[in-house]
């Protein structure tokens, strides 16, 4: 333990819960063992996972760990801090499962801390379905016989009926129970650890739910300072700051997806389900519910690939489907890849797969298909291991271009189609280059936690005066990254920005904060006119440090915080190395980036992509052969104890 841990007087509540589902044994360990470098959330989990998840195991092996972690700011008034972090070996990641992470908004993390725990580590496998009941400093495993089989909404209502409406619940639905590879861990209405299929890991352990309730609170080192910081930031501001590009969107009242979120988020919306209920939706759900007009413009298109346009259903049907999807415990994003692929099948004159009819533009059929996915029935059984794995199964059975399309829609490591410029989002140069470097070095779609880090600035190139935006970027880049050309639309020297984004992502997932609001690369600006006139648009990038100090008493420099982030990132990279992830696999992403970007038609040849990898690996202090940390890099990060294992892995990898 660092001696500065003694200065900590708030934030963490002190205990980590360890649950062995096989034996039923529940123990605690002090959080201080990991402080200060294992800050919380993603950093804390990386330290635990590196030490405790046995190398080489399958995600469904009982010795796999489920880690649920809060951060020092969780449960406090720090804006957007109500998030919960989760990690484990993911069954969705392709081509082979490895360690990855997910965060979800909501109210669970705060409740866990008020109950007296900073994090939970779960391993083993229960003989019968159970749920973990945490209340006022105590934890116990209870039989989940009645709960098993319920959807995520029914199960939460049942548990709240038993333990009170302020009891917060993480739960899996039928999809998780049946180990569907994109099954979620769900919370409240639409908060989910979604893309990485963690629900299936819970299902494999016979873990249905975790409940948390407590009244102990979170100590705050300097309440006055926290109050002043929160007031200084202001409330009901748009989140993220690029919202000024979306005229009319700032006036609408939006749902919040997290305790302590005082922003008005552009990607959130209320929808009306067919049964009359109001349902909140975020991002892929909520964006679709803005209006009928906007919905018609929501297209799932590919850049170079012929991806057919998918039909949206009317608003109430969309809201109903999203609500049902959450109840079943399925990742709502599945539709973004499966619907266009199924439409492409129809265009090829294929109207049934292995005897099951397909009709993806028919809402009733789609709802049935979704149900089948969660219960592994009918056509759903075929798709329940995700589209990418299905392509391997159907190879030779369907036309090659359909198989290629399916592989393109899920082009590597699980579900990456997010802010990479080709498929769903438009990311002009240099933004897709930055996200490609991040993708090539991380376990999953990396941009999921870096919306505000810099990537959303891309929208200014598309929706505002491009030349003016580039001029402003130069001033901003000089100030933030000490390089006026950091955001120039070129392929050169983008590694520092990719790494900066990744540092920010880890900090955000550790404290935690919401990446739609932080970091404040751009200062709060009320309108596009104000943005056009502003000389300097840079924001307050040390807000995280000041919140951390106010809440915990811990005084960290940016350099120290970055060091902790890079240490955690490197531990994650070492876990990827354990799973055999290395440069050759990352080179495999190159064909995707040969497709022209939707926004500006730019692309990169495989040799160019290889140069990008070189630049990134060098900037990280990794070797060029495998893309793994060099011994001296590990030494600098205080991870010398990992050197012998990594050397053994290197030798193994080099053997023919």
């Amino acid at each position: 333990m660092d001696n500065r841990s003694q200065t900590i007087t708030g934030g963490w509540v002190g205990k980590i819960l360890e649950v062995d589902l096989s034996t039923g044994q529940i123990r605690t360990r002090p959080t201080s063992r990991y402080l200060p470098q294992g800050l919380g959330g993603r950093t804390l989990a990386a330290h635990i996972a590196w030490e405790e998840i046995p190398p080489g195991i399958d995600p469904f092996d009982p010795s796999n760990r489920i880690i649920v972690a809060t951060g020092p700011l969780t449960g406090t008034l720090s804006p957007t801090s109500g998030r919960t972090f989760m990690s484990t070996l993911s069954p969705r990641i392709y081509p082979r499962p490895w360690y990855t992470h997910s965060t979800l908004g909501g109210w669970f993390g705060p409740a866990l801390k008020y109950a007296g725990f900073d994090a939970i580590i779960i391993h083993g496998k229960a003989a019968e379905p159970v749920y973990l009941h945490i209340r006022e400093g105590q934890a116990e495993l209870r039989p989940a016989g009645e709960l098993w089989g319920m959807d995520t909404r029914q199960a939460q209502l049942w548990l709240k009926q038993q333990f009170g409406s302020r009891t917060q619940v993480l739960v899996i639905g039928p999809a998780g129970e049946r180990l569907v590879r994109f099954a979620t861990v769900q919370h409240a209405e639409e908060n989910a650890a979604g893309h990485s299929g963690f629900g299936a890991v819970w299902g494999s352990k016979n873990l249905k739910a975790i409940t948390a309730y407590g009244t102990a609170g979170v100590p705050v080192a300097d309440p006055q300072a926290l109050w002043e910081e929160v007031r200084r930031l202001g409330t009901y501001r748009p989140s993220p700051n690029h919202s000024i590009l979306y005229a009319g969107q700032l006036e609408r009242k939006k749902p919040v997806c997290s305790q302590s979120c005082t922003f008005n988020c552009v990607v959130a919306n209320f929808g009306q389900a067919e049964d009359g209920r109001t349902v909140p939706g975020l991002c892929v759900g909520g964006l679709a519910w803005i209006s009928e007009t906007e919905m018609k413009g929501t297209r799932y298109q590919g850049g170079g690939m012929e991806v057919p346009e998918s039909q949206n259903f009317e608003l109430r049907k969309e809201a109903t489907l999203a609500d049902r999807c959450n109840a079943l415990g399925l990742d709502v994003w599945f539709r973004l890849v499966m619907q266009p692929w199924l439409i492409a099948c129809q265009q090829h004159g294929i109207h049934a797969l292995r005897g099951h009819p397909i009709d993806p533009n028919n809402p009733a059929w789609f709802e049935g298909f979704m149900h089948g996915l969660a219960y592994r029935q009918g056509l759903g059984a075929l798709f329940a291991d995700d589209l990418r794995r299905l392509m391997d199964e159907l190879e030779g059975e369907l036309p090659d271009d359909l198989i290629a399309l399916g592989r393109e829609l899920e082009f590597g490591f699980g579900f990456p189609a997010h802010r990479e410029g080709r498929f769903w989002d438009e990311e002009p140069l240099p933004f897709w280059v930055i996200s490609a470097m991040m993708h090539a070095s991380e376990s999953r779609d990396p941009t999921i936690g870096t919306h505000s880090a810099s990537l959303l600035l891309a929208d200014f190139l598309l929706l505002a005066d491009r030349d003016l935006a580039l001029r402003k970027f130069r001033t901003l880049s000089e100030k933030v990254w000490n390089d006026p050309e950091a955001l120039e639309p070129t392929f050169e020297n983008k590694a520092p920005l990719a790494i900066w984004n990744q540092d920010q992502h880890i900090v955000i997932d550790s404290l935690p904060l919401c990446d739609f609001a932080f970091p404040q690369v751009m200062r709060p600006i009320g309108s596009l006119e104000e943005w056009q006139q502003a000389e300097d648009i840079s924001g307050d990038l040390d807000y995280d440090l000041r919140l951390l100090k106010a809440v915990t008493g811990l005084v960290l420099s940016r350099q120290e915080l970055t060091h902790y982030a890079r240490r955690a990132f490197t531990l994650e990279r070492l876990m990827l190395a354990r799973a055999g992830r290395a440069r050759p696999m990352e080179e495999g992403l190159a064909p995707h980036f040969k497709l022209p970007c939707r926004a500006d038609g730019t692309l990169i040849e495989p040799e160019g992509f290889s140069h990008l990898l070189d630049e990134y690996y060098i900037a990280r202090g990794w070797d060029l052969e495998l893309g793994w940390p060099k011994p001296e890099t590990l030494q600098e990060l205080g991870l010398a104890e990992a050197i012998p294992e990594l050397e053994r892995l290197r030798e193994k990898e080099r053997k023919p």
Binding site: G75, T76, L77, G82, W107, P110, Y114, Q156, L157, K160, S165, R166, A188, E189, G214, T215, A216, G217, V218, P219, V220, P223, L226, W227, V230, R231, T235, Y236, K253, K254, P255, V256, S258, Q259, S260, C261, T262, F263, N264, R277, T278, V279, P280
Partner: protein, 145 residues
């Protein structure tokens, strides 16, 4: 007499709980909704929210219910619990038509909104609420009998 209270527009509430956290931070120096003097409630089945907070009633049923005269109205018209005189019997909480008197077991205290007596800038919950679901309201009411 003139009196102030915090008006609730529950339709606007989005359950961010910033009001509870601001209340406990400013009044208790910690982040703990269970120590807040107001409470956000959520009916998950209907996806509806409400905010329970003292309406400084005139007359105040809590004051009438208290067997030890531990509840009084100050010169601002604000209803206060005198902790040192409180018997912890819970009669006030039972009597409150707004369910706005809260018992915190660990500290064995009954808590209610006192409009942030002594806090610069007025009630913290009103200051933080991002959607205007809580507003400070001045109204004239008949004198208490």
């Amino acid at each position: 007499m003139k009196m102030t209270k915090i008006h609730v527009d529950a339709e606007l509430c989005r359950d961010c709980q910033a009001c509870e956290l601001a209340c406990s931070l400013v009044r208790e120096g910690q982040s703990n909704p269970a120590l807040a003097r107001l409470q956000v409630t959520k009916d998950m089945a209907r996806y509806e929210f409400d905010i329970l907070i003292c309406q400084q009633c005139q007359p105040a049923l809590c004051m009438e219910a208290c067997p030890n005269e531990a509840i009084l109205r100050d010169e601002r018209g604000v209803v206060l619990i005198l902790d040192e005189q409180c018997l912890r019997c819970g009669e006030c909480a039972e009597a409150c038509p707004y369910h706005a008197i809260f018992y915190h077991q660990a500290t064995d205290r009954y808590l209610k909104c006192d409009l942030c007596a002594g806090v610069e800038g007025g009630p913290a919950c009103v200051a933080i609420c991002p959607v205007g679901a809580l507003t400070l309201m001045l109204e004239t009411v008949p004198e208490e009998q």
